[in-house]
């Protein structure tokens, strides 16, 4: 068997439909590889950026402390980014992720301290509120057929306003949480291996991404999410209950954001209603740099993980170099545009 035939057999065993691909030249081969492995581009960019900053900064950057620090810094955006990835795979967008996150964290804190509920119960309520806000998003989008951009734009403002009105913008201090409700800070605990420090939040982030990657690839629900994002009419005709899939995606997104809210308390110690203001844009940035198509149905959640890490590497690397923070924004902006350009180029392979 030629190499190409082996390739085709493997694909045929795993896939429902197979496109017979005849590679023409190196560029076409590269294009094909990138098309079939969407996380490859961000992974290459990530490795290159680590190598770049490593060579400029040496051990200061290449230490296990600095590298795991990047993980800690991107964990919250990454968890929210996982929620955002699911939504964007359905060709939607969720502008309310940051607001759901901070609202959930405030509810966890206030229910514990204002009403004296056990922290575990308050956390459960916070997770439920997050899921419920996600349900509202999904219901309005799937049942009432409103565009996701509009719905989540509205819910973003409503959730954020509720957060401020409910909390009176009062911060619950880290010391109080530590003595009275340490469970709220669960995700802030850490294990350290050598100089590497992994917080539970980081571990949760990585496990969540791996779990979602598996679910999206190997379960019926996961394939349906891709199908709805790629062509909802075709999915509907093939018997996918698109409305239920959409509602479940937004609910899951809400739930994950609520977990991000819990992890946020662990990271900053306190419950602060002013957190997470730009999490929606940052999560979309991670998703786009991670190669998930904004037009839905294409990309892998592992790409989002790499996308978030690229942003983290650039931020820390540039700060360590002593560059003005504006340079980080400038380069990230360029990366976003480059990522979408690459996505468009890769898409041509299927035409």
């Amino acid at each position: 068997m030629s190499e190409h035939e082996v390739d085709a057999t493997i694909v045929a065993r795993d896939a429902v439909a197979v496109f017979d691909h005849q590679p023409r030249g190196l560029l076409s081969r590269v294009q094909h590889a990138l098309h079939s492995t969407p996380a490859l581009v961000p992974l290459i960019v990530l490795v290159l950026s680590i190598a770049l900053f490593g060579s400029l900064l040496g051990s200061k950057f290449f230490s296990s402390f600095a590298l795991t620090l990047i993980l800690q810094q991107v964990a919250i955006v990454g968890i929210v980014g996982a929620a955002q990835s699911l939504v964007i795979l359905t060709a939607g967008i969720d502008l309310s992720v940051g607001a759901i996150m901070v609202l959930s964290s405030v509810i966890m804190g206030q229910f514990t301290f204002r009403y004296g509920l056990p922290p575990a119960v308050a956390i459960g309520i916070g997770l439920m509120v997050g899921t419920f806000v996600g349900f509202i998003n999904g219901w309005l989008i799937a049942r009432i057929k409103l565009p996701p951009f509009i719905v989540t734009l509205g819910v973003w403002q409503i959730a954020l306003a509720s957060n401020f009105l409910y909390s009176g913008n009062e911060t619950i201090r880290a010391q109080e949480i530590e003595t009275q409700a340490p469970l709220l800070q669960f995700f802030g605990r850490s294990i350290s291996i050598g100089g590497a420090v992994f917080t539970y939040g980081v571990i949760f982030f990585v496990l969540l991404v791996l779990l979602l990657a598996y679910v999206l690839r190997h379960t019926a629900w996961g394939r349906h999410v891709y199908a709805v994002g790629d062509d909802p009419d075709a999915a509907e005709l093939s018997g996918v209950n698109t409305k239920r899939i959409l509602i479940s995606v937004y609910m899951l997104s809400g739930l994950i954001c609520a977990f991000a809210g819990w992890a946020l308390i662990g990271r900053i110690g306190s419950v602060s209603p002013t957190s997470g203001q730009s999490a929606n844009i940052e999560s979309i940035t991670a998703v786009v740099i991670g190669g998930i198509s904004l037009f839905g149905g294409r990309g892998s959640i592992l790409g989002m993980l790499f996308g978030a890490l690229i942003v983290g590497v650039f931020s820390l690397g540039l700060r360590l170099l002593g560059a003005d923070a504006q340079w980080t924004y400038l380069l990230i902006g360029a990366l976003i545009i480059a990522a979408v350009a690459v996505d468009q180029w890769i898409r041509k392979v299927s035409v």
Binding site: T199, G269, S275
Partner: protein, 338 residues
């Protein structure tokens, strides 16, 4: 005849009633947001004073910090409403200047509260904390606390925003001067050459930003032992970063604001010292000034030797340092806001 007199008097009374209503002094308070405890306190102070003086007070606020479009709309509303004066905490100190000029041209007295406008004389007066002094106090305290070790200090500067707002610059530069570091351009942070400064980073004034900025600077130099923070939430975030590497006990954190959670953090030893400001006072004095302007046409005069009206500042710490006047956290808690 009597009847005629009586009806004339009645007519006059009826006619003059609306005139009296129009003459009732009204004032506007425009804050950055209406959710930040600092501005909530400010509004409380203004409302109490307005009620006392019989002034109608209308309050407006931006949606989020930095939302100066809503503030411009509020200024226009106040002009249309026939207000006598405006008290404003500008979200963008230069962008707002044109609208403020419009209000002053229409005969309103405009007082900047807490944050001076750019240029400061764009408003009729500024009622604020001496932010440079607030910074200087914590700088002197930190230097005094370290003693001879101050010469080898490693300092992290956790500022507010890249745009370098006036309050941010004043506190930062005040701290450096108080600590004994030579300033570059005093209107700008980040241009100092003293090797004791490890670096500047921005925090957005909240816990999340404080933690990340602290981590960034620690990655640059893990031996940091003095941390300046723009406000207490940023300080709480920085403390979490230090705690995660087990260095919370051997680093001095100083801050500015004097909010109640911040003062509690002084008591708990999270923050070494903080400079307390008095938002209630700013607003109450501002309302009084508008009343005086409406009654006599007199504009408020700045505090002697300063370009603005100083509403006071006090250093809150439980470990007093010789030569730096301070109050303890118990007294600070009585005076705190939020």
């Amino acid at each position: 005849m009597n009847k005629l007199l009586l009806s004339t008097a009645l007519c006059l009374a009826v006619m003059s009633a609306p005139t009296i209503a129009q003459d009732a002094v009204s004032a506007c308070l425009i804050t950055k947001t209406d959710t930040n405890p600092f501005f909530v306190k400010m509004r409380e102070g203004a409302e109490a004073k307005a009620a006392e003086l019989g002034i109608t007070l209308k309050s407006y606020a931006g949606k989020i910090d930095g939302d100066h479009e809503t503030q411009v709309a509020a200024i226009e509303t106040c002009i249309a409403d026939g207000a006598k004066g405006i008290l404003i905490t500008a979200s963008d100190t230069s962008a707002i200047a044109q609208s403020v000029k419009q209000a002053r041209d229409a005969g309103l007295l405009v007082i900047a509260l807490d944050t001076p406008l750019t240029p400061a004389d764009a408003a009729d007066a500024t009622f604020a904390t001496d932010n440079f002094l607030a910074g200087e106090l914590i700088g002197k305290w930190a230097a005094g606390k370290l003693g001879a070790e101050a010469a080898n200090a490693k300092i992290a500067m956790l500022d507010l925003a890249i745009s370098q707002p006036t309050v941010d610059v004043l506190r930062d530069q005040g701290f450096l001067q108080g600590f004994g570091i030579e300033l570059g351009d005093p209107d700008k942070w980040g241009d100092e050459t003293d090797p004791r400064i490890v670096g500047h980073d921005v925090t957005a004034g909240n816990e999340e930003g404080g933690r990340k900025a602290m981590e960034n600077l620690l990655a640059k130099d893990p031996s940091i032992n003095v941390v300046y923070t723009i406000n207490e939430p940023a300080a709480a975030g920085a403390y979490e970063a230090l705690k995660s590497i087990g260095r919370e006990a051997d680093v001095l954190i100083v801050s500015v604001d004097g909010g109640c959670p911040g003062v509690a953090n002084v008591k708990d030893g999270v923050i070494g010292a903080t400079s307390q400001q008095y938002p209630l006072q700013m607003a109450a004095l501002g309302v009084e000034a508008i009343k005086a302007w409406a009654d006599t046409g007199a504009k408020p005069a700045p505090t002697e030797g300063k370009a603005f009206f100083d509403t006071g500042v006090a250093l809150v710490t439980d470990t007093a340092v010789d030569g730096v006047e301070s109050i303890d956290s118990v007294k600070g808690a009585e005076l705190c806001w939020g």
